[in-house]
């Protein structure tokens, strides 16, 4: 009897990129649910627009690059990029900016470098950074979280979202429903010589644990991130290092001068902290690849986020921190190669 031959190993576990990406999307569900509750239904629109744009851009890019499109479209990686970008931007973002950001993310962030696995930068953050520097006003206008003041309900949030999403002029009567995020208003307040105590006392800024409203989104992201860790898709090094890099300086600074620096708890549950630590910084393609490298990489991101939040010109620094550390990855990879069995450390 004759047989076909094939190289060893003859069995594999059958893990696949689509399955990994699906798990990531699944872990983002709690974030989406909480954000819709707290900030209105904008996220759903953003996700829809970003996903469609991402798929179209990916298909076009593959076509231009003369690569087979089906396996890549099916792997779900571009959807993760789209959903991460959509979850990072304000739900009030006009749809055409979402399209623009996603297109930049996929075409410039991913395919300009050779597609899946080749991009040195986190594609979602490329798109986010381009939007943030080009359209700072639109990008920093967030809805006032539901429940922060009694003047508006979820219905108003929804109507506001729709109007803003279609790019229409927002009724001046709704001015009270939009505003800067907690991190933003604290920085602005400090610039206007308010004291930290005064700012915190305003109530609409800091809630039970962190930034009012955003604390719950961060909790959801933390839950999703822990799920990914339990599934072995995210390793502990990057999230732990990001949080350590952000919270330790925050703790020290806050202890030295509570009037000038936000406390670590507020940092941990404000802005994009948890989403960034567990979902954005952990993008394996653009992160450092050894365990030790991941620690340095994450710590660098955390520290940069704290620096940007504290002294920078932008409300939240995740995109820039991640992109900056992406640049450092080849260096980290070079100097954090683990010791090989049977060899002395060199």
């Amino acid at each position: 009897m004759r047989f076909d031959t094939s190289p060893a190993p003859h069995v594999i576990a059958g893990y696949s990129v689509p399955r990994v990406m699906f798990q990531v999307l699944l872990a983002l569900v709690p974030v989406a649910v909480v954000q819709v509750v707290v900030l209105g239904p904008g996220l759903l629109l953003q996700v829809a627009v970003a996903s469609v744009t991402a798929l179209v851009c990916e298909a076009l890019a593959l076509r231009w690059r003369q690569r087979p499109s089906l396996p890549t479209l099916r792997d779900g990686s571009v959807l993760v990029t789209a959903v991460l970008l959509a979850s990072s931007v304000t739900p009030l973002l006009p749809w055409w900016l979402t399209v623009l950001g996603t297109a930049f993310a996929v075409l410039l962030g991913k395919h300009a470098f050779g597609g899946l696995g080749q991009n040195p930068f986190n594609p979602a953050m490329v798109g986010y950074a381009i939007l943030l520097v080009s359209f700072p006003a639109e990008m920093t206008r967030w809805p006032v979280p539901f429940g922060v003041d009694d003047s508006h309900g979820w219905g108003e949030l929804a109507r506001l979202t729709l109007t803003s999403f279609y790019g229409g002029a927002v009724d001046p009567a709704w001015d009270g429903y939009t505003g800067a995020t907690a991190l933003d208003s604290i920085r602005n307040g400090l610039e206007q010589r308010y004291t930290m105590a005064e700012l915190l006392a305003r109530g609409e800024v800091v809630g039970t644990l962190g930034a009012r409203g955003f604390e719950w989104i961060n909790f959801a992201a933390l839950a999703g991130g822990l799920y990914l860790m339990a599934r072995g898709i995210v390793r502990w090094q990057i999230p732990a290092a990001v949080l350590a890099g952000l919270l330790l300086p925050a703790l020290v600074a806050h202890a030295l001068d509570p009037g000038a620096y936000l406390g670590p708890l507020t940092h941990a549950f404000a802005g994009a902290t948890m989403l960034g630590a567990f979902f954005i910084a952990t993008d394996p393609v653009s992160a450092a690849t050894s365990d030790r490298g991941r620690l340095w990489y994450g710590a660098g991101i955390g520290l940069l986020v704290w620096v940007i939040r504290t002294w920078g010109g932008y409300p939240d620094g995740f995109a820039f921190a991640v992109l900056l550390m992406n640049v450092a990855v080849p260096l980290l990879d070079r100097y954090t190669v683990p010791r090989i069995y049977g060899r002395a450390r060199d």
Partner: protein, 494 residues
């Protein structure tokens, strides 16, 4: 050298072993015709020591190695050599083989010693030579001659013997069955090997998922408990890889590019030890081995003892024949085994398992679609050599030789763990084999270039010297000619 209690990571795989290992080992009746491959799996092609028409008996030497890296091969049945095929037509691997027609009489070779060998009376060096003549080779799958390994270990004064009963690869259970059924032989073999090595201690390492084998060996080793001990190691693939086992048992790492002997250890498979014991008890060289015949593609998976040269098809028949639609015939386990092109080849010393795989076993591999590496690091998590396979892959793909070597392409033990967990379904182990082949080719080319450069430079120098010598001779001749004709005015004459 650094110490570490465990090798890094590895895989916990579904073993698929227990029911088969508990069953008795079935003796396979000798076939009418035996095919002895001249490459018994160690990569050395032996020189035939017989001619067509020669009469052979059990234990007659039929082929010898030309160096120390092959083991002497003996006939496993009596009969006549009917063919020596330079290229075995049934074998896509292209190996030559000796075909023996079995006369069914099982006559032993008269030159063999009768009865047991008093190994305690032999001096250790002689004992090593006798083991070499007995054709003992590593039965764990490498087929490397035991005597050569022992000689190396003696030269480096490696005084600790490690008997490898880990048997970490899924589906393989021939060692498990052997340890249960012939524990006394394993211990006896350990004693003989200790004598040959002048070893101080002997550790038999067994994975913790084989309690019956552990019990059997503990009982058998009781009388020698001071020197022979049974050590339990966790059931993790590839626990049975030599270096990894040395680390698990002794807590030291075998240096890269070094041997276990460099840390004072000699590793032998338990099946090899049992084979040594058989020889010591009977004086008959190595002519049989235990093979696991298993996989979803055989009717009744079991362990068999068969003579070398027995066609693999006969072994499958002993296991109830093929079942379903067998897609691959794998010599060895499903992680590292070699897929054979035909079942007509004869059993060799290095085939410890016949794994007949059906779609059920191979589904994920057959359906695999390779996509780009996403640097997830799953491979690095499981690599027992502590490598970053994703980086080797990247550098090998870019044909960056220095990078691939720096990231340890030569330290890869080809266990396949990285393949197993790769979500991009990249055949990493294969890529690394190809990279090593490419590096070897590159080194060969570099060596050739170096020789060519030297020869060319020498030639150029020689030719220049010849021209210069001619010029000098010409100058001298001219000088002389002038000296005779115009001695007073050498400067103006041209």
């Amino acid at each position: 050298m650094t110490t570490r209690n465990e090798f890094p990571s590895g895989l916990v795989l579904d073993a698929h072993k227990q029911p088969v290992a508990a069953e008795p080992i079935l003796d396979v009746a000798p076939p009418a015709r035996l095919r002895f491959a001249l490459d018994q799996g160690s990569g050395v092609v032996l020189e035939p020591a017989v001619a067509v028409g020669d009469v052979v008996a059990i234990g007659s030497v039929i082929a010898r190695p030309s160096d120390d890296f092959g083991a002497v091969l003996h006939a496993s049945a009596s009969g006549r050599v009917i063919a020596i095929e330079s290229h075995d037509a049934t074998n896509d691997d292209g190996g030559p083989c000796i075909v023996v027609e079995n006369d069914g009489r099982d006559t032993p070779d008269p030159a063999l010693p009768r009865g047991p060998i008093d190994y305690t009376a032999l001096d250790p060096a002689t004992l090593v030579d006798r083991l070499r003549e007995a054709g003992i080779a590593g039965l764990g799958g490498a087929g490397f001659p035991t005597a050569t390994k022992l000689a190396t270990a003696r030269a480096r004064s490696a005084r600790r013997l490690l008997l490898n009963g880990a048997e970490c690869e899924p589906w393989i259970c021939c060692d498990d069955a052997l340890m249960r059924a012939e524990a006394d032989d394993v211990v006896l073999g350990g004693r003989v090997l200790m004598r040959a090595l002048e070893a101080e201690s002997c550790v038999i390492a067994i994975e913790d998922d084989k309690p019956a084998a552990i019990d059997a060996l503990r009982a058998a080793a009781q009388s020698a408990a001071d020197t022979i001990t049974v050590e339990i190691v966790p059931a993790v693939y590839p626990q049975g890889a030599e270096r990894q086992l040395v680390t698990a048992v002794f807590g030291v790492e075998v240096p890269a590019r070094g041997l276990p002997a460099d840390v004072g250890v000699t590793c032998q498979n338990v099946a090899t030890a049992a084979a040594v014991a058989r020889w010591a008890r009977s004086g008959v060289p190595l002519v049989t081995r235990v093979v696991t015949v298993t996989g979803s593609g055989v009717s009744r998976p079991l362990n068999v003892r068969a003579r070398f040269g027995t066609p693999l098809a006969t072994l499958v028949e002993a296991a109830g024949g093929y079942r379903g639609e067998p897609l691959r015939l794998i010599a060895g386990g499903n992680m590292t085994g070699r897929a054979l092109a035909t079942d007509e080849v004869g059993l060799t010393k290095s085939i410890n398992t016949l794994f007949v795989a059906t779609h059920q076993d191979l589904a994920a591999r057959l359906a695999a679609v390779e996509v780009a590496c996403i640097r997830c690091g799953n491979c690095a998590d499981v690599c027992p050599a502590g490598l970053l396979p994703q980086e080797i892959h990247r550098t090998a793909l870019a044909r960056d030789a220095d990078g691939a070597v720096r990231f340890g392409v030569w330290d890869c033990i080809d266990c396949g763990c990285c393949d197993y967990v790769c979500p991009s379904q990249i055949p990493l182990a294969l890529r690394f084999r190809e990279a090593r082949e490419w590096l070897r080719e590159r080194d060969r080319a570099a060596a050739r270039a170096a020789v060519a450069r030297t020869r060319h430079e020498r030639r150029e120098r020689r030719l220049q010297e010849a021209v210069a010598a001619e010029q000098r001779a010409f100058d001298v001749a001219r000088q002389q000619a002038r000296g005779e004709s115009a001695p007073t005015d050498p400067g103006t004459a041209t």
